[in-house]
Amino acid sequence: MLTSLYAAPRITPRFWPVVLRNLLVWKKLAVPSVVGNIAEPLITLVAFGYGLGALIGQIGGRPYIEYLASGSVTVSAVLAATFEALYSAYSRMQVQKTWESILNAPVELDDIVFAEMLWAALKALFSVSAILVVIFLLGISRAPSMLLALPVLGLVGVTFASLALVFNALAKGYDFFTYYFTLVITPMTFLSGVYFPMEQMPGWLQTIGSVLPLKAAVDLVRPLVLGETPTDVVQPLLVLSGYAAVGYYLALVLTRRRFFR
């Protein structure tokens, strides 16, 4: 039935065929996609890790490439989920009218939004798995706790997919997404200790950083990738889940408004 704009999500098992539909399209393009997923981080890690790392030396008592690799894998989850939930979801929603055709079957908008969120998170997992393999093969880290980073990176995917779907629901065209990348995602990577530590930044910037979901993600993922114990587990998980919950609900309300207004 038509739910009110602000109703709680009504998700039924029919969301699953929508996830499978996206998976089926991805499988057709999987080879170039996987090659890109491995080649891109491989090149970045080698170039910056060894090139820049030789100048920087150590950060926090560890080689720069370890610092960079563990930050990059987190950003990769963010970018993969964000791209999928912005550009790809928008193509399906607006350009190809895929959502419209699905809505004419017994599948509801709540199912579709949930499926898109979950699918974008899955894409993030595919992407980070490839990078973790690269990190393992290059010997940057061989810590078994890398496997524990995977579920955390899945949550990072959920969080950033949800946030991106908010902007997807508001978009009037692809151009709109440039703002999101330039004004939200890019500054966030510089305030979250991805490529360099936050300690030398002014205090107020550190304060902003401390409430960002990417900072919470890095705080969890970096130690797990490098075989250390995170200093705090509960707070970063709460931050990520909080952004995910608020983002997902907001995305749902705005998407309902877009379709049923």
Binding site: L2, R21, V25, Q96, S101
Partner: protein
């Protein structure tokens, strides 16, 4: 009379101050094709969206198969097939995959879907195109694939929003033939169209919408007989405007549109004799048709919002 497949009662929907659908009621029974015609902006697509639970009526009641829309639309949609105005085929999938994936949204067992795919491809005259993506299909093929896709759940009611817009005559005729075939199988069709020949050919009954209101309803031939004189004489040429005045008394009604004058007559002979003597005009005598009715009821002027 049996319970209708779709019943719409006193449906009203406003966007802001303008009523898009205004106190609209109609029914569709099994095996029947109901045509909805009206100028752009008359409320056709909004009505369809409400029947599919995609927009909420302000007031009024919709039931499909006895189920309340939108409350039970999910169950109702198991028995409805939809072809939308714009193509929404999946460009990344082949024809067969389009059907297979769409079937999955209905929760149909894989074996059922696989059994239906070759039949639907044959129905859409696309057997040879099973492995081809929609980007390589002609407009007519795409529309037929869309129709095939709408049949994947073997629906009892088909909702077709301008299914032949943009098709060439061959493709339209093939589409009509397929739709007639479906009606013979006992399926009901709700059809919107701008083609009056299509409406006349396919529809058992028509409703004419204008500004969201139903301004006429009935069988195509009966509507024409009820609202129009039996014959129309179209007059063109330099003397057309003058002829419109001189011969006005020989017709029940005279209308001018651009360079053409339309005489609506019950008995054409006296007018035709008079025109035959007038060498400044050319003329065409024909029976009144649905297009004449449409123009009489909704006017000849182009709409500002169209």
């Amino acid at each position: 009379m049996t319970e209708p497949l779709l019943r719409v009662v006193q449906l009203t929907k406003a966007f802001g101050a303008s009523k898009v659908v205004d106190a609209l009621s109609f029914e569709i029974h099994a095996g029947e094709c109901l045509g909805v015609i009206g100028p752009n902006g008359a409320g056709k697509t909004t009505t369809i969206r409400m029947c599919l639970g995609l927009a909420e009526p302000d007031t009024g009641r919709i039931t499909a198969f006895g189920l309340d829309i939108p409350a039970q639309v999910r169950t109702a949609k198991e028995r409805i097939g939809v072809v939308t105005q714009a193509d929404s085929l999946d460009p990344d999938f082949t024809c067969a995959e389009n059907l297979r994936v769409y079937g999955s949204y209905f929760g149909l067992p894989a074996a059922t879907i696989e059994a239906r795919i070759p039949k639907l491809l044959e129905f859409a005259a696309l057997q040879a195109k099973a492995g081809v993506k929609p980007g390589e299909l002609s407009g007519g093929m795409k529309r037929r694939l869309s129709l095939g896709r709408a049949l994947i759940n073997d629906p009892d009611l088909l909702v077709l929003d301008e299914p032949t817009t943009g098709l060439d005559p061959q493709a339209r005729h093939l589409m009509w033939e397929r739709l007639q075939n479906l009606l013979q199988q006992g399926k009901a069709i709700l059809l919107t169209t701008h083609f009056m020949d299509e409406a006349e050919r396919l529809c058992d009954r028509l409703i004419v919408l204008d500004h969201g209101r139903k301004i006429a309803e009935g069988k195509p031939r009966e509507l024409i007989a009820e609202h129009l004189e039996s014959d129309v004489v179209e007059v063109y040429g330099d003397g057309a405007a003058a002829a419109g005045t001189t011969h006005a008394r020989l017709a029940e009604r005279v209308e001018a549109s651009g360079e053409t004058v339309f005489f609506y007559v019950r008995e054409a002979k006296p007018l035709l004799d008079a025109l035959a003597a007038d060498h400044s005009v050319r003329y065409l005598h024909r029976p009144a048709n649905l297009e004449d009715l449409f123009l009489k009821l909704t006017g000849r002027q182009i709409r500002g919002d169209a």
